[in-house]
Point group: C2
Chain length 273, copies 2
Amino acid sequence: MSSAYEARLSCRQNRLTSTAGIAEGYIQANLLVLPARYAADFHDLCRRNPVACPLLGTTATTGDPHSIQPKGCIGSDFDIRTDFPKYRVYSRGKYRETCVDLLEKWTSGHVGFLIGCSFSFEDALTAAGLQPRHQRTKSVVAMYRSNIPLMPAGIFVDARCIVSMRPYRPEHIERVREVTRPYHSTHGEPVAWGWEGAKRIGITDIDRPDFGDPQEFLEGEVPVFWACGVTPQMAVESAGDQIDGLVFAHEPGHMLVTDWTADDLLRLRSRNL
Amino acid sequence: MSSAYEARLSCRQNRLTSTAGIAEGYIQANLLVLPARYAADFHDLCRRNPVACPLLGTTATTGDPHSIQPKGCIGSDFDIRTDFPKYRVYSRGKYRETCVDLLEKWTSGHVGFLIGCSFSFEDALTAAGLQPRHQRTKSVVAMYRSNIPLMPAGIFVDARCIVSMRPYRPEHIERVREVTRPYHSTHGEPVAWGWEGAKRIGITDIDRPDFGDPQEFLEGEVPVFWACGVTPQMAVESAGDQIDGLVFAHEPGHMLVTDWTADDLLRLRSRNL
């Protein structure tokens, strides 16, 4: 049994409380599940904003929780309703509750989307001697609401890009950009950097992230920002009560362990699903 | 001989001075040609910004002007150096001259990119009874520099989205969005609309476009903005003297007539090249 499959079984049986650091080398994915009538709009949102919303796969058939396209991502034994350790439930754009499975809530009218997650490029940074600060300090990466608009798609018209931030020295930024650039399916290279860059994307107080923990800056370090996988959930919130029916997402830090490796992902690049 | 091939031959022989309205039903494409060492960065720029820079094809082999991938776009008799009626030449990010072919200037180190153009969705608007104003008044569509940032890619770090504008009545906007939405390879649905939308993307004086002609507004009409194919040229300008060697683009209004029809394009969606 692969360590990825083993991890999914543990998540399914709720024996794992977080997927951080497990099944090393395998890609983890974020989740968004919507009623089918909004699926085309959300699909367009991903296609038009591949840096903020990199699409890894979708459930092949409306209402079927057992398959994801493209194949190869997930083995034959798969259930999108149980294989994430924790789920968030939204109603009319508002967060309602967190639960450990969707068995009662999933309907024949739901469609699921798997979205790339930055864990994979963080491994690449660490391998290049550029380990992200929050990994060393065992904190949660700092995330901010930026002013970078998403290209509108259907009911998703007012969303903005959420960004994650990692501090680096200015002389390392070009290398940091190079290392993360190939990871098209997991946000790729940074969207802004430096104190001027922070101001340009509307971030004025670096010590007060909107999500996650403030990060320590060592002497001379500047912020480097990447698009962040929380963006799709914020897009759902911005669509608000235009969405009739329940929407589900993963609980941050509680992702799906896929059968893809980082190398598969480099070959995959940004998919056109 | 198809009307598309006939049109390309006319352009090659410089018997056509503009491609507006010719070979009806066939998609026209914008051009950007760069030295190979910047091709990966430009390719990434397109991949990360598919709304502003929708990629239709690239020259398959560096320095080969006779083929475009994916195949099917252009027949066997093709030369990217001659088959556009007019070309713009850039050096170190600055426009230098316009010429009718690239036979002398093209080198074995050049790579070409074909980029979607809004002509195709304009036909769809007209078919839906929503003909763009500039077509009725025989003027050039109004274009503006917006504040919408492009996601950075390699040497292209400070580019912003150029937008084209067509006036519509507010009650027609949802229909206008629906009609243009499927055209992923040619900018798709609008990026902003209404007077508030104009302000949000940094456009304060609608009567003073940065390119093209000011458009007449009838009683009650508001502006509707789409991403515009001039964006890649502006990205080259913003990269400035980081680009060593000549860059070529089509002269606005002087595009390549491809063998693709609008229907092919709908099947094509946004390509992952």
